[in-house]
Each structure stands twice: as structure tokens, then as C-alpha cells.
Amino acid sequence: MSPERGSYADPAVDYHVEIAFTLNGAEVRIRVDPAERLLDVLRYRLGLTGTKEGCAEGECGACTVWIDGLPVDSCLVPAVQARGREVVTIEAVDPMRLRPLLESGATQCGACTPGVVMTALWILDHPDLLETHTVRELMAGNLCRCTGYDGIVEGVLEALEATRDTEREPA
């Protein structure tokens, strides 16, 4: 669904801009309206519907993607801000990394899950965060209405444990 001209001051001017960014490792070039949300570009223009919309106002985290390695709410990010950056979405995630989360009951309906996974993997990639924060604090930006969070928190902790075990194994 492409936004049209006419939303801006001069209806005769085409305000669209072309941007390029890296999406899940591949180069993307696309013309976007300056007010178009990254979430909509991903879902409706590029067909990556794994990223979900839960609230459209930065509260629920269902739309979490990474930009340059940091989890962000893609409903709050104008697509133009992705220019020249590296965007990673749930579609790029290796399903094998999700095993501990599946086994701990981290997902029920699944609507929050893509966002939960993007935050969870970010925690796993930066275990030093746990020196200053708890998993519960770090996950607080992702609302889940089904699990009550125990399954998510345990899954993250078990995945951390598994990562440590692999690291400890002699090469």
C-alpha cells in the first residue's frame, strides 16, 4: 500500500525520497514517503510480515527490529531513518537459536513473539547487560498478554546458560 502525494504542503510536489539500506544482509533500494513508518515499509512494501503491529505508539514492542544492532520499535521509526543503516528483522533469525524459548513456553499466541525474540537475541548477544540489569527489566519493553512472562524469562536464562556451556567446551 503506497502512500500518495498530497499529504504535504504543496500538492504539486512529489515528496517521496529514495533510500537505500541493508535489510537482513541484502541491499534494498526503495522510494518512500517521508512520513512512512519503517514497520509499514517492511510489511506492506517489502512483504516481511513477521514484524507485527500491536499498538503503533511504541508501547508493546511487537514491531521490534534491529537497526545497527539495537532493538527499536519500528512503528516509531520513519523509514527514511533507515537510510544507510543495517536493519535486521525476525525473518533473519536462525530458528535453532529459538529452541530454549520454545521449550520454556515463551510463546503462546505468537503475536508478541517476533518482537520478544528480537529483544531476547539482543540480550543473548550482550550478556554483559545482565551485570547491571535483570532479564525482567530488559524485556519490559515487550508486552505479552498470554504467557505471564515466566516462559520468556526462563527461556532467555536457559539460552544464556546454553551459550555459556558452548563457550566453555574445549575447542
Partner: protein, 703 residues
């Protein structure tokens, strides 16, 4: 396009001049080809308001456009002009003159339960303890909003979307569009949470999408944004419950006199059945010979309240369990001891006269939960904290409760749910049911049940997509009935399939698969086994007197909360939570535990923070920014324990458990806050503002 006022007459629909109407599809009530009614219990709710509106945000007009931007412009250019009338917004008082909009007195439904002789028993009581309790509306906040896609396939109108009850939607479509069941088809898409919010409401969304698709002559997608979903869709019924309880000197319950009032909103929808479950659970899991319960659901000019996990029981259980602590204090008994003296023993009966004899030891459950929670050790520590600390206060609270599984009374018999199991050409079997997955684990547990009953590997079990063209009506996915009732039908349909193939009931695995393949080779079509609901023997219910076996089985639970209250900010934090329950056989530990934890956290939200602010009868804080639900950092780990007494008539011995966990947290948490602060809160959500008022009142009393 929705009503801008809570009550009034529609004068006109105004389109701004200059609006580009090319490609814009406009639908109003005149586009219906059947009665303008959302078919459910009563025919009072229109699909699209025709001449009058009865609540804010009531749907009046539908617009569709290929471009979302153009649609937004069109919405801004259309105005629904209504001559407003004074709305009725308070369900707790009689309607003012001119305010009656349903029947003679705005009462949507009245129900009552009578056991023994309450007045005589009260006259002989050592103490009579009274209390009044209120609960607020609660928004479901399923993470995925309401959404539906509709299109025409030849002569058939197809609707696919986020929903719990394909056959409810099918009936509503057929009725209002004037189409036979062979010309409508409903398919459930994997659903991102429901909690009851997708029980009745999707019929309306489906009708709207279908009307637009029919007029547009092309597929139409209708997805709510969060704000619209919160403003316009159903919520948990607000309630007012009054108790008058007679006890003897030992704290034994002599009489329970209970009045239950629910805010039904502007249309009947499911309120009669919500009220039914509310009153049946109102007296709690206690033995009392004299019980009188009067219930009513009342009309207001609010968007209709509807199904929400627990279905009326959480409201009356909050009142009853909060009241039990008040009764305990009145007779100077420990709240645990008061409950121990009154819990139903096997052989005793509930308020409807249902004799409970299921082998569960409810007193043992109570003792075990208390022990798991560390109640006695913590009590001393809390007293010490209160002496030492200027503003930190801690307290423990508990709730004992039960929840009936499946439809109430004769509901399951009336439903007459059916499940089919077909043998596939390659020897696998396909389970065909209309029960859906919305996160609660239906797909996994149905696979387990079918695998165990057939002796086939899980990989040899296929589950048909819930598509009304392919699956029979196995009833709605509600009321904690999926595993217990429908799961049992799967077992019986598999037995039937075996019998049709000439196999003994215990034949399974390879032999079963071989017989299926042979049947295919012989007849060239799939052999199908089928099962239709049969009530367990001895279950009797009288719908007119509300006497008898209200539910075939109950789950039992004792929940204990520990809270910390900050006397500077009046915020309450739940620091520990023990959820102990007896739910029959647990079929999948991970999923069952997840249901309990999720339900408990939803209940903690309702208890402390989920405050639906009503203006003109509708939700004013319709944003996740200011309707707060718990995050991972707002709740402690929920400590879940199951006791299992296998239930003979549920699949693999299971009873229902999905709704149970929403019942207990509010009373357990509020009882804990009462203990921590020495106040008597009677309302949920107990927000910091409400707790502050309570504490200020308390100070005024002392002064």
C-alpha cells in the same frame, strides 16, 4: 464510521463537498439483505445503526478504499450527525424518567438461586457481616487486534480472520445477509490472542467486512487499530456485589445473602450467560445451607460488555473472597481458619444444591498452598518490617475458589458438539473440529490426545483447518471446554472410527493405520468416525429453578499473594505468588503452567493497574500508553503447582483450566494489600489513587 454520542437519533450522514468518491465503497444498513441483527441471544443489536444510536462508537457507516491514505481522507470528510438524547450511564441506580431503553426497567436479565431459608438463618446468626464490592471493566488487550478478510468465491461469501468461534460467525453472517449455510464460509486464521474478546465481537467485524466485499465486488480487509479496538469492542462487565453473611460464633457460614449487578452495556449480547456464571460462582467453594443470590444485568448506554476469560466469575469471586477476610476479622478468626471451617467437603453441596463428590480434598489444597507460600514465617517478618520501616509494608492474602468447566447447566447438551476423525489414504488420521488455536495450546494438546487414543505417532495426526466448509460444529472455543469436552469427543470419534473399521477399541498404531489404508483401497474414500456430546451420567440441571448440577466438573484452587506497598507513592508490587490448583489430569505441563501464569498476570493487572476510564460510557484511555497492563518487570515469577485428581469424563482425565487463573489474583492481592496497610479496600482495580483515598479515610477515622 461510528456514533459520536452515547445516545440519540441519527439525523443525517454528511459527506463534505469535494470528497473524491471514485473507488470509495460506502455501506450502510440498507445494504443488508437480511434482518439488521447480530444474531446471538436476543435480536436487539443492529449490524449498522439505522435511526438511533445507543452507545458511543456504535457502527453506523462503513467505508472502504484501495488506498489507506485516501480512506483516511474520506473518514475525515464524513460526519454522522446525531440529535443527542440523555444517556443512562450508571448501572447501579434505577434509570431516570425517559431513560428506559430495554423492557420496562432496563434490566437485560434477572437470575436467582435459592437454597434453604436465608431470613430464618440470618435471624439465628451470632454475627451478620455486610459488604459491598465493585470491579471495573477490563480490556482484553490481545496483542493482535480484531481483523477480518472477506471475499466472494462464486456464489459463496468467504470470511477469514481472527476469531474464537467459527460457527457463531457463520450463523451471524447467514442471518443478516439472508444466506443459507452453504453460501457462507468462515475460516479461522491463526489468532493472536482472544481471552473471550474474539468470542462474539468478530461476528460484527465479519459482517462489516462481508458487506463491504459484496458491495466492492473485491476482497476487503478490515483490521482495527489499537485505539479503535479498545474504544469500540467488548470488555469485562463492571460489577457491584453486595454480601450479607450470617455466621455462628465458630465462624461457620449460616447464611449467604448475595446481590450481583452487572453493567451489560447497550445490547444484550452474552450478558445473560455471563450473569449465570457470575451468580453460580458467587457463594464460593463453601458449604452453606441457606443461600440466596439475586442477579441482574442492566442496560446502560455503553458499548456492550462481553465475554472475557472467567465470564462473570472473577467479579463475584473477588467480592466473595474479599468478603471472607472481612467476615474472618469480624469473628476474630485467621482467614485461613475461617476458610478451613467452611470449605465444601465431599458429600456436601454448592449453592445450587449440587453435591460435590469428586475425590478432591479442598482443605488439603488450602494447607498445601499456605505451606508453599511460607505464610506463617513471612507474617512475622512483615510485622517486624512494619515496626522498623517508615514506609515499606508487606502483607499476605489468599483466595479459595472454583471454576466450572464447559457450558453451564444443560448448555453442552443444547450445543450437541460434534467431532469427526477421518482416516487418510496414507494411514494417518485427520481430526476435524471447529475449535481453534489462539495461544492456549489446542493444536498441541489435540495432537497429544489423538495420538494417545489412536496409538499413532504425533506425526501421523493431522488437524483440519477450522473452516466451516470442512469441519463440523464442535462448539465455540470458550468456557475452558476445549480439552475436557472436545478432547473427549476426539477420543470417542477415534473409537468410532476403529469400530467402523471392524477393529477392537484397543487396536492402535500399525494395525489401525493398516486398516485405514485398506479401507481407502477398497472404497476409494476416507473412512470417518464421529462423536456427538453425551452428558456424563447423573448430571441433572433445572434451568427454571437454577437447581442441580451447574457444571459437570469444577477445577479447585487456592492462590496466595505477597505484596509490598510503598506508603509514599501508594504503589503496590506483588513480590511473590503461589498458584495451586486441582484441574484433573494435566496433559501438557508446559502449556498448562503457561495458561496459569498468563491468567494470573492478567488477574494481577485487573487487581492493581488496568483501569478503564469511562467517559460518555466508553473507554477514554484507549491507548496502551495510559491503559497499563503488566510488563515482565511488574510481576514476580508465578509459582505454579498442580494437584491431579483424574476426571473420568474428560479427555485423558483432564478438566478445564484456561479461565481458572483469572479468578484468584484480584482477591488474593487485595486481601494482601488490606493486611499490609490495615485498610479495607473493596474495589478493583486498586490503583495507587484509590489506595491513597482508602488510607486517607483511615487516617480521618483515627483522628
Amino acid at each position: 464510521m461510528r456514533s459520536p454520542v452515547p445516545r440519540g437519533r441519527i439525523r443525517e450522514v454528511r459527506f463534505a463537498s469535494g470528497l473524491d468518491r471514485s473507488e470509495l465503497v460506502v455501506v450502510d444498513h440498507r445494504d443488508l439483505t437480511g434482518p439488521n441483527e447480530v444474531l446471538l441471544i436476543e435480536p436487539d443489536q443492529p449490524v449498522l445503526a439505522a435511526d438511533r444510536v445507543r452507545h458511543l462508537h456504535e457502527p453506523v457507516l462503513l467505508l472502504a478504499h484501495p488506498s489507506r491514505e485516501a480512506l483516511r481522507r474520506a473518514v475525515a470528510a464524513v460526519e454522522i450527525v446525531v440529535d443527542p438524547e440523555p444517556p443512562v450511564l450508571d448501572f447501579t441506580v434505577d434509570p431516570p424518567p425517559g431513560g428506559v431503553q430495554y423492557g420496562d426497567d432496563n434490566v437485560l436479565k434477572r437470575l436467582s438461586i435459592d437454597k434453604g431459608d436465608v431470613e430464618t438463618a440470618l435471624a439465628g446468626a451470632a454475627r451478620i457481616v455486610e459488604g459491598e464490592y465493585r470491579t471495573g471493566a477490563q480490556e482484553h488487550v490481545y496483542l493482535e487486534n480484531q481483523g477480518m478478510v472477506a471475499w466472494e468465491e462464486g456464489d459463496v461469501l468467504v470470511v477469514k480472520g481472527s476469531l474464537q468461534c467459527p460457527y457463531y460467525v457463520l450463523k451471524a453472517l447467514g442471518h443478516a445477509l439472508g444466506r443459507g449455510p452453504d453460501r457462507v464460509r468462515v475460516v479461522q486464521a491463526p489468532t493472536g490472542g482472544g481471552f473471550g474478546g474474539k468470542e462474539e465481537y468478530p461476528s460484527l467485524v465479519a459482517l462489516h467486512a462481508a458487506l463491504l466485499a459484496r458491495k466492492a465486488g473485491r476482497p476487503v480487509k478490515l483490521v482495527y487499530e489499537r485505539g479503535e479496538d479498545m474504544e469500540a469492542t467488548t470488555k469485562r462487565h463492571p460489577s457491584l456485589v453486595r454480601h450479607r453473611t450470617g455466621v455462628d460464633v465458630e465462624g461457620r457460614l449460616l447464611a449467604q445473602d448475595i446481590e450481583v449487578v452487572l453493567d451489560g452495556g447497550a445490547y444484550v449480547t452474552l450478558s445473560p450467560v455471563v450473569l449465570s456464571r457470575a451468580i453460580i460462582h458467587a457463594a464460593g467453594p463453601y458449604a452453606c445451607d441457606h443461600v440466596r443470590i439475586r442477579g441482574r444485568a442492566v442496560f446502560t448506554n455503553s458499548p456492550p460488555y462481553g465475554a472475557f476469560r472467567g465470564f462473570g466469575a472473577p467479579q463475584t469471586i473477588f467480592a466473595n473472597e474479599r468478603h471472607m477476610d472481612v467476615v474472618a476479622a469480624a469473628v476474630d478468626l485467621d482467614p485461613i481458619e475461617l476458610r478451613r471451617r467452611n470449605l465444601i467437603e465431599n458429600g456436601q453441596s454448592t449453592a445450587t444444591g449440587q453435591v460435590i463428590d469428586d475425590g478432591t480434598d479442598r482443605t488439603a489444597l488450602l494447607d498445601r498452598a499456605v505451606e508453599l507460600s511460607g505464610w506463617h514465617e513471612k507474617k512475622a517478618a512483615h510485622a517486624e518490617l512494619a515496626r522498623r520501616h517508615p514506609w515499606r509494608r508487606r502483607g499476605m492474602g489468599l483466595a479459595c475458589f472454583h471454576h466450572g468447566a464447559g457450558f453451564t447447566g444443560s448448555g453442552e447438551v443444547v450445543l450437541a458438539s460434534r467431532v469427526d476423525v477421518a482416516g487418510l489414504a496414507d494411514g494417518r488420521i485427520e481430526v476435524r473440529s471447529g475449535n481453534i488455536e489462539m495461544g492456549q495450546g489446542t493444536l498441541t494438546v489435540f495432537t497429544q490426545i489423538a495420538s494417545e487414543a489412536s496409538g499413532l505417532a504425533p506425526s501421523a495426526i493431522a488437524l483440519a483447518e477450522p473452516d466451516t466448509a470442512r469441519v463440523p460444529n464442535s462448539g465455540p472455543t470458550v468456557a475452558s471446554r476445549t480439552v475436557m469436552v472436545v478432547g473427549r469427543l476426539i477420543e470417542r470419534a477415534i473409537e468410532d472410527l476403529k469400530a467402523r473399521l471392524g477393529l477392537p477399541p484397543d487396536a492402535g498404531g500399525d494395525r489401525f493405520a493398516e486398516a485405514i489404508r485398506a479401507a481407502h483401497a477398497e472404497r476409494g474414500e476416507a473412512p470417518v468416525g464421529t462423536a456427538t456430546y453425551q452428558p456424563p451420567p447423573g448430571v441433572e440441571w433445572d434451568e427454571t429453578t437454577y437447581r442441580g448440577d451447574a457444571y459437570a466438573a469444577y477445577a479447585w484452587a487456592v492462590y496466595v499473594a505477597e505484596v509490598e506497598v510503598d506508603l509514599r507513592t501508594y504503589t503496590t508490587r506483588v513480590v511473590d505468588f503461589v498458584a495451586l490448583q486441582e484441574v484433573g489430569k494435566v496433559l501438557n505441563e508446559t502449556l498448562a503452567r503457561g495458561q496459569i501464569q498468563g491468567g494470573v498476570v492478567q488477574g494481577i493487572g485487573w487487581a492493581l493497574m488496568e483501569d478503564v476510564v469511562l467517559e460518555d460510557g466508553a473507554m477514554a484511555n484507549a491507548q496502551l500508553t495510559n491503559y497499563i497492563i503488566p510488563t515482565s518487570d511488574d510481576v514476580p515469577p508465578i509459582r505454579v503447582t498442580f494437584e491431579e485428581t483424574p476426571y473420568a469424563h474428560g479427555a485423558r482425565g483432564a478438566k478445564g483450566l484456561g479461565e481458572l487463573p483469572i479468578d484468584g489474583p484480584a482477591p488474593a492481592v487485595v486481601n494482601a494489600v488490606a493486611r499490609a496497610t490495615g485498610t479495607r479496600p473493596t474495589t478493583v482495580p486498586l490503583t495507587p489513587e484509590r489506595l491513597m483515598e482508602r488510607l486517607e479515610e483511615g487516617r480521618a477515622d483515627v483522628a
